[in-house]
Point group: C3
Chain length 307, copies 3
Amino acid sequence: MSQLEYSTLGFESILVNLDGAVLIVKMNRAKQRNSWGGTLAEEFAKVFELADKDDRVRVVILTADPTAPAYCSGADLSQGPKFGGTLNDAVREPGLYFLYKDHRDNGGKVSLAIYHCRKITIAAVNGHAAGVGMTAMQLPFDIRFVWAGAKLTFPFVRRGIVPEATSSYLLPRLLGHSRASYLFVTGTTISPTSPIIQPLYHSTFSTREEVFPAALALAKDLAVNTSARSIAYTKALLQHPGESIEENHLLDSRGISLLGKSGDAREGVQSFKERRDPKFMDKLDGQGDGWHAWFPWWKTVNVKSKL
Amino acid sequence: MSQLEYSTLGFESILVNLDGAVLIVKMNRAKQRNSWGGTLAEEFAKVFELADKDDRVRVVILTADPTAPAYCSGADLSQGPKFGGTLNDAVREPGLYFLYKDHRDNGGKVSLAIYHCRKITIAAVNGHAAGVGMTAMQLPFDIRFVWAGAKLTFPFVRRGIVPEATSSYLLPRLLGHSRASYLFVTGTTISPTSPIIQPLYHSTFSTREEVFPAALALAKDLAVNTSARSIAYTKALLQHPGESIEENHLLDSRGISLLGKSGDAREGVQSFKERRDPKFMDKLDGQGDGWHAWFPWWKTVNVKSKL
Amino acid sequence: MSQLEYSTLGFESILVNLDGAVLIVKMNRAKQRNSWGGTLAEEFAKVFELADKDDRVRVVILTADPTAPAYCSGADLSQGPKFGGTLNDAVREPGLYFLYKDHRDNGGKVSLAIYHCRKITIAAVNGHAAGVGMTAMQLPFDIRFVWAGAKLTFPFVRRGIVPEATSSYLLPRLLGHSRASYLFVTGTTISPTSPIIQPLYHSTFSTREEVFPAALALAKDLAVNTSARSIAYTKALLQHPGESIEENHLLDSRGISLLGKSGDAREGVQSFKERRDPKFMDKLDGQGDGWHAWFPWWKTVNVKSKL
């Protein structure tokens, strides 16, 4: 893995570039308004799965060319609606409401790949965004930066379909149900400066050109100043905090035990006391100390279609 | 159902009027400060159950006369406290903590009827609101508009009782626990412009007279521009998103499959490309295509008292 | 219990003073920048457990000396990192992911004691706060007041460890995941006036000296104007609202039944109608009417280590 050269992987719909510890992923369908089509979904899922396993990568940024018509304009409708596939027999399985031999939404596949990536993920939304451009391309990320002039919309109920790409799970968790219900039920077009959606974004910029450089600066800071294992365990705690505060107490106690005596913890404290940048060395995988044997502590769910 | 004439149903405490696809429900107890009493609860529950099944109704607005002393001033205390009923033996049943032969709170019955209504629901809060006027009369709705001058209060702990009408479930989901705890634990009176409660409201107006017309304008837009099935499935996803992001991926994939090839999806995309209003025709029920056979995917709970 | 004299309990790291119905707890390690060390954790856990059972106490305020270097500067790192203990064999038990013979995080023990306290809890954050000073010392409280000049930080990923003290459970519930992920993943230092963290705080003050008196004034208001049983049941509803809106309807209906005919409910309504302060008399425990026999309605979890 460590010698992987992203530029040789034959991606068509995205441009991928490893800048130090920051993997930069750029949509490359400006002529199609960066609409969701072609090989985009497969390539996004693949690049986030690779980033998850590549020890060199500490942060992944998703962005677009600031001169493109949009950050991501949603599904490619040029050929008419092509949503969804066939519905087959529902098969109930233990621990799941159902698991059917059926279509799986492409946006959701990408959302899951991003959500499961154990590295820091940043969306640098430097243009308009609609549909899957609001959902898979923004909601599963840890941090979102945005251009103040972006037109944002979750238009699903206005197109006769439903919110996809796990957005009905993610948006209420991110913003609460008051904001999420309004955005989904109205399908309105909104500005990132509206108080209804503003808390989705961690920084807002007045020009499209400012968004990516600011995201890159934060990414470079975080790549140096955070521990890879701390980030992976922290993201796992946020996604799977336990079913009660007591179970969470067990889970974070274990995290403190696992990492509290690690090289990264010693270096984290030492560098803090010496007022210098840390040199975190612990790897996520493959260091032979088995710290990740404790993962996952949650029930995993296989969502592969049985088709 | 389709010939139902709401004005003939003998409602005493509410006025009901079907304006196109918008059902307008108005409190009609101005002389009692629109307090919660008389036949109000039964009539609210009934009208939202009817609206759920009436194919003509796409949006329901709840409001009050803007000249009334309040939007809803809470429980009618004119006869002294009359909260609650008797407590009997607890009966534990599978899948429930308990199900006892016992009193059921009226506010909660109304909250459930509104929450379960598969149409778009809007509260046009054009006056002061207290107690059940903050809970059942606002929290189960999809969208809330408010008069900036309204005095708002959840006074339960100051009256020796507890938050009712499922508000301890709904308010933290809507606003997060930081705001909800403060509002419930202090029982304070607050302005809708306070940052502690502001995100509950999607638009704020400086006069009482502006609130309802703005809600009606949005309702008429949504009645035309959203698909009834999209709204029903979207609301179900928000209420029952699955126990994990993976289960949500299965649920929204199914929604995309069910609706992606529907007449409404074709019309939604076609009208978007032709830059015209859509003409959505698919009905929620009774069209013979069995799309709703997939509902409910969640565990349903019978809350009827065994008294 | 009722004769308990807090000043005689031999606390070293905290100062405790009962002012009417308000228990004031002050950090007393200014020379160590109010860092988390010494006997602090044990004393905090003890005082909140005592307050929970002391009928005289209606509100607990945690604060620091406004002239101290910090409200709480986090773990005492003067001796180098000493996070965590040993990890032993995991023991799976019914209803829990695991329960191992293992270290328990001190911060989490304190968080649980505060979270489980059935009285109103207020954090008066009148100085800088880092690490456990942001987590156990703020997140489990019902209400937080803050000095606008405070420097706030959740630095865990920058020290090679993970968020502790049940903060990965509490912070997303308080503020939503958009804000919580940013704060935990960046470990950045932030001002309470930043929109990313502002909703954590219910009042913000421009000087350190103003914070505690404002908290005390609110505490004295709430001590008189709220019912002890109403507060306890309301906090329980917020922490354990049921697994569905229907279960919540059963739980708050029972609360209304239990308290609706109580002396406090009669007094709450009567005093409201007479526009005077109430005199709530009902005690949490020990009044012989068994109202608390209904607690707990949730699954309790024993988190004691089996070491």
